[in-house]
Symmetry: D3
Subunit: 161 residues, 6 copies
């Protein structure tokens, strides 16, 4: 059976760590869908459309990678798309509790969909979207953590406020 | 000395993991009071009255179990009720930091009240009220995690919004 | 049902942290048996008889505490003695993996015997028998970590070598 | 590119947790080689031949699963066999340090071979070969943790000593 | 090169644990600046001026300790002041993820500024400003966790609400 | 007061991670003594003299760094040498339990000697002497983890056996 994977997340915004994992996923799986969770109850810095455009701009060269949004359970999105694997990054600095809870909960909903964890490159082990937003908010440079276009977008967002 | 215990928590809502721990507590202790913390500063999905009713409905068969609310320190509640043990669940997926801080802080306030940790059944190791609310909010089934009546209440709460 | 507990361990040698937990256990439970695991495959510094004598000497004032040895599964020992609780210490510095594995394994063997975890006093959070032996071996003072008689025994053991 | 995986380990002996992971791996990957590490410096309870036979007996029905031994670096074994993925189990009770070190070290040696982590079923989260041997050694039943044939082999091994 | 350090934090309010670390820092470093982060996006219980005054009142006897506020990146503050070390407390109960992320992120921004971690005294291992505010809010005594003047200020703050 | 530090360890053998930390320490402290623990009860791959020579060869350019051996408590060594700081590396992949136990134990023995933790560079976060020996033993290349001379010594050691 061919492995077709979904890589779910908030991607608010996408980081170099996310992009490293997307590249690894595109090599591992026949098809990879980057799925941006859109939860009406959570406030995000960038709109779903902005986040889709950011990831598309950086992954254009990867033929087997798609970008989409979803607003329910990730397992329902996966079933509707015929995807049988959930890809998640595993960092040495990581919120294991949330990762394990999500993986075991998703297995309860869909035993046939397997969550697989892959480690990003070591220089991305400590990057998180939350930290990047905090740095950008106080005027720090985020050039080492996100693509150039995202760095510009972050600067514009916090300056215009 | 007879061991009389309080099992404090938010129970917003009660889960099968909580109920598993209540059953274990009812076997361990002469008397067990399930104490719902009511903090004016925290917003809950269900009212204190709803939460009391939910737990009562599921624990009716346990003669030595009571349900109550409290709004100060749990050690003050325990002293007022003559309870000498605080019961807490300990999961392999768990926020140890918060648990240890609470236990050591409570010991500072009341050295004679001992916090004891018990593990819920292994199939409840990854269930949390927060996760259940997130699943219910996006329309997922929570039947595997909460009693039937609670599942109905969650459905009603999020549909009516 | 009265709670009668077993507190299993190697106690090679008993530390002030162990004794703190024994005192807490003697207050919590109707009866407490300190059970020294005797595993032919593991080499210990002190003989089972020496370890029994050390703990007896320090717990003589606690009427409901017994000391014994066992050489099989702790759950078999507990059943034979009519004990329904396994007591274990839980430190912020602790080998959680081993503790959780033991607790869940013991529950597989004996679902009616509950493992309860209690925290020792904060000044005992970092004491371990292994560390104490390492300190004594290089001639350091262990007076802050073990009873006076145990400190003397350790000194004699390492000097006579 | 088709994913062909190696699942390395000591398997001394194979447990129900290992077999659960092998089944998950056989569904995820085109081909899966269970590779038993044979290190002259480490003493094992069962010989490499016995361990191969044990795993073969339990995985006979899985057409795309092979069993082999190796005695150098797992990445060299993978390259020689044309395998591009290393499969490892990830348990909530787990030695993360060793897992992360191995994964990052292997990536240093072979950047094109990706380590992917998969969670075994929740009832296998706390099973380990080490614990099973300890239980069998003191005469406890390991029927809940290993296949029937392995349980018999363990009994024979410890009785005959 | 003389070591001149910054100890950054929210200090909302300062605790006995913070003061213990300030004393250790004043012994380790030639100069120590306690730097109160002032982030417009985060709501604090005490104003920056109140927090400065609280820390000054308790550290008056330490000649080489200054107190200041900052509102950007801590590394920019350090550079502007000629400080070459960032001091952070490391507790056994601690949010390692956030600490490691901050330390590695700050090193990306300023490779010449080293983050050094020091452990507070063991009786301060579980104290946190967040927990203290929660206790004060429900009317509990915080006398064991903060200086007397801070305890009075907390009482006034929550009573007057 | 000038900070004079000891960096204790086994260094069997010294790794690039150790050398990274020695360089950081030589910048932080007026004087740094790398102290090789020599414990008669522990078997090492390299003799104390070999380990001293290896570290000296790599740190010759650092004027304020000395190398020595010690065979008792590190705090006794520090006192005898007039050193007031113990330096330890802190990795995201790390045995925190042992580090915290050692730091708190050493504080019990010598309250005036402070243990400070510093993070090695991120590319050294997963390197350990134990892992390096395992890799060398099975014939793998350790060139990425240790200085060239140490790599040669390891090769010679395992080939000659």
């Amino acid at each position: 059976m061919a492995m077709r994977a979904v890589y779910p997340g908030s991607f608010d915004p996408v980081t170099l760590g996310h992009l490293d994992l997307i590249q690894r996923g595109s090599r591992l799986f026949e098809h990879l869908v980057v799925a941006i969770g859109v939860n009406a109850a959570k406030t995000a810095l960038f709109s779903p459309e902005e986040r889709v455009a950011m990831i598309r701009a950086e992954t254009g060269g990867l033929k087997n990678v798609d970008v989409a949004t979803f607003d329910g359970l990730v397992v329902d999105f996966a079933k509707a798309r015929g995807l049988n694997v959930i890809l998640r990054g595993l960092r040495t600095i990581s919120d294991f509790e949330t990762e394990f809870q999500m993986a075991l909960t998703n297995r309860t909903f869909a035993p046939d969909i397997e969550t697989v964890f892959v480690m990003p490159g070591e220089k991305f082990q400590f990057i998180s979207s939350r930290l990047i937003k905090e740095v950008a908010q106080v005027g720090g440079s985020v050039a080492a953590f996100v693509p150039e276009a995202v760095a510009r977008a972050l600067k514009g967002r916090f300056t215009s406020r």
